[in-house]
Subunit: 526 residues, 2 copies
Amino acid sequence: MHLSGSNFIAGQRSAQGQTLVYSINAHTGERLPGAFYQATLGEVDAAVTAASAAFALYRNLPATRRAEFLEAIADELDSLGDDFVTLTCQETALPSARILGERGRTSGQMRLFARVLRRGDFYGARIDQALPARTPLPRPDLRQYRIGVGPVAVFGASNFPLAFSTAGGDTAAALAAGCPVVFKAHSGHMATAERVAEALIRAAERTGMPAGVFNMIFGSGVGEALVKHPGIQAVGFTGSLHGGRALCDMAAARPQPIPVFAEMSSINPVLVLPQALANRGSQMARELTASVVQGCGQFCTNPGLVLGIRSAAFSAFIEQLSGNMAEQAAQTMLNPGTLNSYKKGLRALQAHPGIKHLGGAAQHGTQAQPQLFEADVSLLLTQDELLQEEVFGPCTVVVQVADEAELLRAVDALHGQLTATLLADSDDLSAFGHLFAALEVKVGRVLLNGYPTGVEVSDAMVHGGPYPATSDARGTSVGTLAIDRFLRPVCYQNVPDALLPAALQNANPLGIQRLIDGIPSTAALS
Amino acid sequence: MHLSGSNFIAGQRSAQGQTLVYSINAHTGERLPGAFYQATLGEVDAAVTAASAAFALYRNLPATRRAEFLEAIADELDSLGDDFVTLTCQETALPSARILGERGRTSGQMRLFARVLRRGDFYGARIDQALPARTPLPRPDLRQYRIGVGPVAVFGASNFPLAFSTAGGDTAAALAAGCPVVFKAHSGHMATAERVAEALIRAAERTGMPAGVFNMIFGSGVGEALVKHPGIQAVGFTGSLHGGRALCDMAAARPQPIPVFAEMSSINPVLVLPQALANRGSQMARELTASVVQGCGQFCTNPGLVLGIRSAAFSAFIEQLSGNMAEQAAQTMLNPGTLNSYKKGLRALQAHPGIKHLGGAAQHGTQAQPQLFEADVSLLLTQDELLQEEVFGPCTVVVQVADEAELLRAVDALHGQLTATLLADSDDLSAFGHLFAALEVKVGRVLLNGYPTGVEVSDAMVHGGPYPATSDARGTSVGTLAIDRFLRPVCYQNVPDALLPAALQNANPLGIQRLIDGIPSTAALS
């Protein structure tokens, strides 16, 4: 199973640099076989140039051709075999069942975007027909649709080596939008990235896509040159607040600023309400524990804050949660850097006078120990930064509030979040239903009686939210609406039918729904 | 006709500052009666605080209530009488017919957004119904709609004292989206702004809107405090590249970065093709001249660059254009600052060795003299900054290219634009039809055989485009799609029907179209 370690540029492999980077076995901390060539500045430029050249061809392909490409990628992903799964498990310490599931999620995501391309609503087609007799001035014929913004730089996540990485959601959304991609391989799973990029290239060749439709570069520090390259027109990122914000700042300071869609930091508050507590407190403590430690807590939607109203029942719940958390086994994290960040996060919580440790074995060794803390509500109300910071790993913080009024104040004090969850029964909903409106302004997704880990890939999903959950609350990085981030509208005025894009032609050859003179219609125009 | 000169905060008038600013008669350069109180930092804070308080109420009003508010604004605008028109003419030197027309455009815009609110497509409602029997995991019930981002800061334009100002397109789009507005009055028409703000407040009171739904502050330098205020969640701006970029940089550097939608600088290329030239060269020269000098050239979509293939016919066209331009009368500009910028722009063109003056009386006096220049194509191909810079006023620059290949290279060299126009007959379209694809990536709107001045307010209009035309090519500041800039998606997971927003309830009480399991439908769910 040879790994070349070369960069992927315009359908070719390129290894011009002298700097080698290595992938690490997450279980042992040892180097895996093979070396990866850090991209030179010349290679970064070549990758963006290839993407720009491909844009002119790729964006003008019929959407059905792009759909065939995405479906071919899906097929290639599905046929990555056991050796691939083993490799990814070595690089990430994630269990093979998880990688198999993630592979299906990733290919399913590609197929879902293919359906979006066939459905055609992404065009946002709108036609205002000419009104030649209107006074004082006639109205021209105006037709609007959406096109890709141009080449997109994508930075993959450490925690989803497939679904938020090389062929992950951002790549799928950009390719669907007609935007070629330059992908920066994550240092935590470069061998996986190479295998997936090979699959993407096979799919591109098989479906006759232009050579630079997908490019991938290795190395640390190459991301800056990528984001600053004038050919890049948008950025997708999943990772830390620190890293995401740095990319946003770079992008904003370019001669031509470009949008960055960074999914960054969220503590995903869970509100435990009294009736639910009375009815099924122990069950919720077990479920919540499972959600916190699932995948070693390495999820953007990991519940990092548990809010409840002070009561005997909530005290019992906390006690049970402490016990449950203390029983959880240590797990190996994605890489030594992740474990170090986790340890640092725990130390900061432990050192804070307003926070006390409730459960979990002392952190030691090479695995992450699940931990439970309790923080004083005043930290939330006074905007203590520490409490609002995501500790990436199997850890959560409980906060007790005095009453319903304080619960509302605590919600108001929250920063932007990917999710908020209510654990509530019907009596709770009568009493606390107004919490939905209070939470809605803070988050991208509000859940009732579920757990935020597990993000469905569908039309209605929002995996986004106000800063610092993401850099732009108007986007989502999961679900079909993610394509919107990479599209922009263009209007044609008085252009004859034969020269219009198919989506806007009178006959409606694509059979899509369009907004015609303010009314949705699939009809042809005469 | 008393003007208080006070700031508008939470439905009250406030004049806490010591600094007075004055409006100027654009014809005479003399101070108009009345003085305006520059907002203090405390007043800026109070205005944003009022908008934030209003947001909680206003965003939760039924969209039909917001529609009634917009319609009431429209009625109030329509009833602003002759004295108002006279005042605006004094402040801007625009003719009364233009102000009357603009008043109708502005009230029409409000009514159009009211229709959008009733139509309900702005919700972007999507429902993925639960699949409890799905394996390996059931799918939860997921429902997505869009809500306002929060209080919006709007900066009005100098050149449209009504349509792109106090109650203009950005204000209309933000209010429609459910976002209260803090409007920074333009120094060029503060008396007009006061009258329009009064009309807005009357409409707000008449329709029972929360007090801080619309606020307005006067003064120079107060914009920075406004954009940096943590309560502001988005910015709309129409004006210069310099001013717009400064706001973008401020917004990007905030602890919480926010989106800025700035409509800034465009030279709106017009491509004159050979057959059209042969068939109707003189007519096009006359029409183009009229478009360049209309409204003293003070339009974002003013054609500032004319491209044609070198030929005897194009030489004759240029000669005729020179003659036509030289015949045009001088006009008074919006204010002395605008005239100074125009003079500075002309001097820069005149001083450039690659640019020659073709027609127009020497610039002198207090009015703008229409001017025609010719630039060498090499300036375009080598990205000379001067040629790509908008000279705001009745001025345009002709560029001759050698052949079709050079025309394409010239198009490729263009920066982002609001518009591009082809003047072409049917033979041209057979030969040059591929120009549409080349232009599409550069602009927000492509026109055939029209002139870019005159921007229809409708569903299909795009008044946007790649940088530096705007700061974010994914938006438009004219037309109903403008509302999208101020909306963000939110998802509800497994929330019972009674607690869902009306747009997402099973019965579809709003009767709107929704994407249900991937299919557009107005049906109720059981």
